[in-house]
Symmetry: C2
């Protein structure tokens, strides 16, 4: 598998882009320092999802930033994405790995200590710890884990990790200091007036926090 950098991981949400085309926001964000991009589309038709994935892949390629597809292994295969992110209600990991092969990145959402323990038995490439804080982006989430939860899970887990859920400029430092390898954001970049600048600011905070 290609090396990847979890530091600043953007998860897309078209409904939060303030009317701007998704690909514009994503490209600005990557110019600002985003290291991974996850395309998450819960309501798009398969054709729209596929077309969007192909567009993003072509943009991200020139920045050498991997495109990760949320949930949909068919889209990941169809656009030859860098990887797949699955949650606890998605395809079983073993099935996804078998179909996607060992050269692709597969990330798994963990929503509890038990999920993190279970994930230690799987050769996933990273875990997404969620939700760290309450968030308005997703309404179907498990209870917030808080910084304590991040600390506990990163100590237990044998995998690289990102925190996700309610993370922004004011608390990004806490997530890294609690033990995560990176932060995952949605609205902090998708809804930022200047996505490039917000990404740059987040990246600086992460870099400083990691060097402490």
């Amino acid at each position: 598998m290609a090396a990847f950098d979890l530091s600043l991981y953007l998860v897309t949400d078209r409904s939060l882009s303030l009317g701007r085309p998704l690909e514009t926001v994503v490209e600005e964000a990557v110019r600002g320092g985003v290291t991974m991009v996850q395309l998450r589309e819960k309501d798009a038709s398969t054709l729209d999802f596929y077309n969007l994935a192909m567009k993003l892949k072509s943009i991200l390629k020139s920045y050498n930033v991997p495109l990760i597809i949320n949930d949909r292994l068919d889209i990941a295969l169809a656009c030859d994405a860098g990887g797949l992110h699955i949650g606890q209600s998605d395809m079983p990991y073993s099935v996804a790995r078998k179909l996607l092969g060992k050269d692709k990145i597969i990330g798994l959402s963990v929503e509890s200590i038990q999920d993190a323990i279970d994930a230690n038995n799987l050769d996933v490439d990273y875990i997404g710890i969620s939700p760290v804080f309450g968030t308005q982006t997703k309404t179907d989430t498990a209870p917030a884990l808080g910084l304590e939860g991040i600390g506990e899970i990163t100590r237990i887990s044998g995998h690289p990790s990102v925190g996700i859920g309610g993370i922004n400029l004011t608390n990004a430092q806490d997530i890294i200091q609690a033990g995560a390898d990176g932060i995952s954001v949605v609205s902090a970049i998708m809804s930022a007036p200047d996505p490039q600048q917000s990404a740059r600011q987040l990246k600086e905070i992460i870099n400083k926090s990691k060097n402490k």
Copy 2:
């Protein structure tokens, strides 16, 4: 590709099963003479879709009836289904064929004469002509094609075909006589008080119509 029989093609809809488990209705239907089953799940999580597909596949295997997955190539791959059915808003056919391989059945929905002409350039295994009549099962459909539309499309098309949309005991014969190789039904079996009996009655009508 294995031979397949389009005569009586059941498309599932859990919300129409009158509270009965989907797998029970499907097995009864197959005992009554259903020759193909398409699992269609528009709202299920990927995990639920996968688990249901695995269950149906195991049931259908003993009857030698192919399981076709609607839209979701990931589920078709994951459960090694007999094939995939795609609509005009799903994965492009060429991509689906490349990922699924030449040994699987791929069906395509056509909703107009033009769709049928376009499909002649693709090596799809069958076309689903829809909607023949108005239907309450799907609300996002194109205008009803009617028997005349079925006749025109089956004359133009180089592919085997099934009609779908509002087909039941009273009009099944007309669909076959208009030129289709089979009929596809949802509520006529899913909501039947006795799915096995309804399937048997439909099958008899189809067989008689074909021998005329």
